[in-house]
């Protein structure tokens, strides 16, 4: 037990506790910290920039969780009705690829897709929609959805593969029975596929919600939180405050709040999943 507990305690749990301790102090990282009680927490909830970060994190949940899970379910439903599954291994390997590549590389790949002369604008111009071409990541309107869709691209494959393996558990006879009862594809989707995939949906939800709330790498490379503060998220703010802004205490308070929000979100998702439908 000891070899596992020792590094974990020293380099994960103690730092987390240390962060909680720092969050009660005003500290610039250099001079002596001074105790300020809960002032940092009050600021976390009052500061407009921090509120914006919370909103953006919420919006990212739509792109990181809702959209990929929706796409994954549709794909799983379409494929589940088919019993021959040749070539599925190749498809699985491919769909999982964005999951394996470092997010920094994903961000660079998509910077190129979204660039002024990038792949997306080229495609728009090719089909005569050139007037919609934009510098996506530099736009106040589009940067957040643009970054969000990168997240969708990364996790959609994971959701899809997760749901596909889930449908293998579902007895084909249930589908046959539903069809006998005259259920159309839509009805079958809502009353067979979705309820029976409940455990998988819960898992996908907790993984993707954590990814959305604690996102950092993608945004750091694509927009750095900009333009202005239009894509600022908690992870970026923590980094800026602690390692550029000299507000280590405030950054720690924000990090502690983020941990709490993530834990609550995961608990809620698990609670919902355990309830019998």
């Amino acid at each position: 037990m000891l070899p596992a507990l020792l590094p974990y305690t020293l380099f994960a749990v103690l730092p987390a506790l240390h962060a909680a301790y720092l969050s009660l102090y005003a500290w610039d990282g250099v001079t002596l910290p001074s105790f300020t009680g809960l002032a940092n927490y009050r600021q976390v909830f009052a500061d407009p920039q921090l509120r914006a970060a919370a909103w953006h994190a919420g919006a990212l949940i739509v792109f990181f969780s809702v959209l990929p899970i929706g796409l994954g379910l549709v794909a799983a439903a379409v494929v589940a009705r088919r019993s021959g599954r040749r070539g599925i291994t190749v498809v699985r390997t491919l769909l999982f690829l964005p999951q394996v590549v470092p997010l920094v590389a994903v961000a660079i790949i998509w910077r190129w897709v979204y660039a002024e002369d990038g792949t997306l604008n080229q495609a728009l111009r090719a089909v005569g929609l050139g007037r919609f071409a934009d510098s996506w990541l530099g736009s106040f309107t589009w940067s957040l959805p643009a970054v969000g869709l990168i997240g969708t691209w990364v996790v959609a494959g994971l959701c899809m593969v997760l749901f596909l393996s889930g449908t293998q558990r579902i007895d084909q006879e249930i589908y046959e029975a539903a069809r006998m009862d005259g259920a159309g594809p839509l009805r079958e989707f809502w009353s067979v596929t979705v309820p029976l995939l409940r455990p998988e949906i819960a898992v996908a939800l907790s993984i993707t919600v954590i990814a959305a709330l604690s996102s950092f790498d993608l945004i750091y490379i694509t927009t750095g939180g900009g333009p202005g503060n239009s894509t600022v998220v908690p992870g970026i703010l923590i980094y800026r405050l602690a390692f550029g802004g000299g507000q280590v205490g405030l950054a720690s308070a924000l990090a502690v709040v983020l941990t709490a929000v993530i834990s609550v979100a995961v608990l809620v998702v698990n609670r919902l999943a355990r309830e019998t439908p």
């Binding site: 507990l5 103690l14 494929v79 021959g84 455990p199 604690s214």
Partner: protein
């Protein structure tokens, strides 16, 4: 495609069509980058450019030597080599103890470890930076490696415990009756059939360690000693305009994980899926 139940032709095609669209969506951005990486350096480019100016592999050479990705890759490899075996060993020992022995307070210890799954890196990295700096461990391999081992421990213990719990208890008891120590039981009796579980954990750890960004970015401030992804992040700021060079560097950095992934893809996918589901 043979299906037991006769279907309308349209339905038979729906599944392959949907999957083909998704696969294309994954592939196009990668291809776009690959095509950019073989363009002549320093020329204006458009998104999906066919290599009409010949294939310029010198971008890869430049990325490797002039942009310094050779040494960065090496330091990534050193970190991974330090992290993976140590983390797998610690997780195996803890998982074995929790699954087969009556550890006093075992349940509580396990819960304590699982708590770590909810701690995001953003929280630990701030104190880690100041604490490791006080110990003189920033900019060093042990500093970063220990931080990663600690961050990976909860999943590893969970994974190995779940694995050892599936092994028949009679196996452990028989070994004990034969007078085998817990140590021999683990190495002689349980490990030979644990290869798949251990391999999966090792592959996951390698990929996570290679891809880790925030920890090396903060804990290694010296740009020359950073890991490859952190170096890539630094590089984007510097060489913003030279798309072919950046594309080549990106491909060099992702090549090792992609190779490991393709080689162990079944281990990797099953690890992620069942790891997630058991949790």
């Amino acid at each position: 495609m043979t299906t037991p139940v006769p279907r309308r032709a349209g339905r038979g095609l729906a599944a392959p069509a949907v999957l083909a669209v998704f696969c294309a969506a994954v592939l196009v951005p990668f291809l776009s980058l690959l095509l950019a990486s073989v363009q002549p350096s320093g020329t204006p480019l458009t998104g999906f450019a066919l290599p009409t100016h010949g294939i310029h592999l010198e971008n890869f050479v430049h990325a490797w030597s002039r942009a310094g990705f050779g040494p960065l890759l090496l330091s990534s490899a050193v970190i991974a080599l330090a992290v993976v075996p140590a983390a797998v060993l610690c997780a195996t020992l803890a998982g074995y103890a929790l699954a087969t022995m009556d550890v006093p307070g075992g349940g509580k210890l396990y819960g304590y470890l699982l708590l770590g799954l909810a701690i995001p890196t953003e929280v630990t990295v701030i104190p880690l930076y100041y604490d490791l700096r006080a110990l003189g461990l920033t900019n060093t391999v042990p500093g970063l490696a220990l931080a990663e081992i600690a961050a990976f421990m909860p999943f590893g213990v969970f994974w190995m415990r779940a694995h050892f719990a599936t092994m028949p208890r009679s196996l452990v008891e028989a070994a004990r009756l034969d007078g085998a120590s817990p140590w021999t039981t683990l190495w002689r009796v349980l490990m030979p059939s644990s290869r798949p579980a251990v391999t999966t954990l090792g592959v996951l750890y390698f990929v996570w360690s290679w891809n880790q960004f925030l920890l090396p970015l903060i804990l290694v401030q010296d740009p020359g000693k950073r890991t490859a992804p952190a170096g890539l992040g630094f590089f984007t700021g510097q060489y913003d305009v030279d798309v072919p060079l950046l594309a080549a560097a990106t491909l060099i950095v992702i090549a090792p994980v992609v190779v490991v992934y393709l080689f162990f893809q079944r281990h990797f996918i099953n690890g992620v899926l069942s790891g997630a589901l058991k949790g």
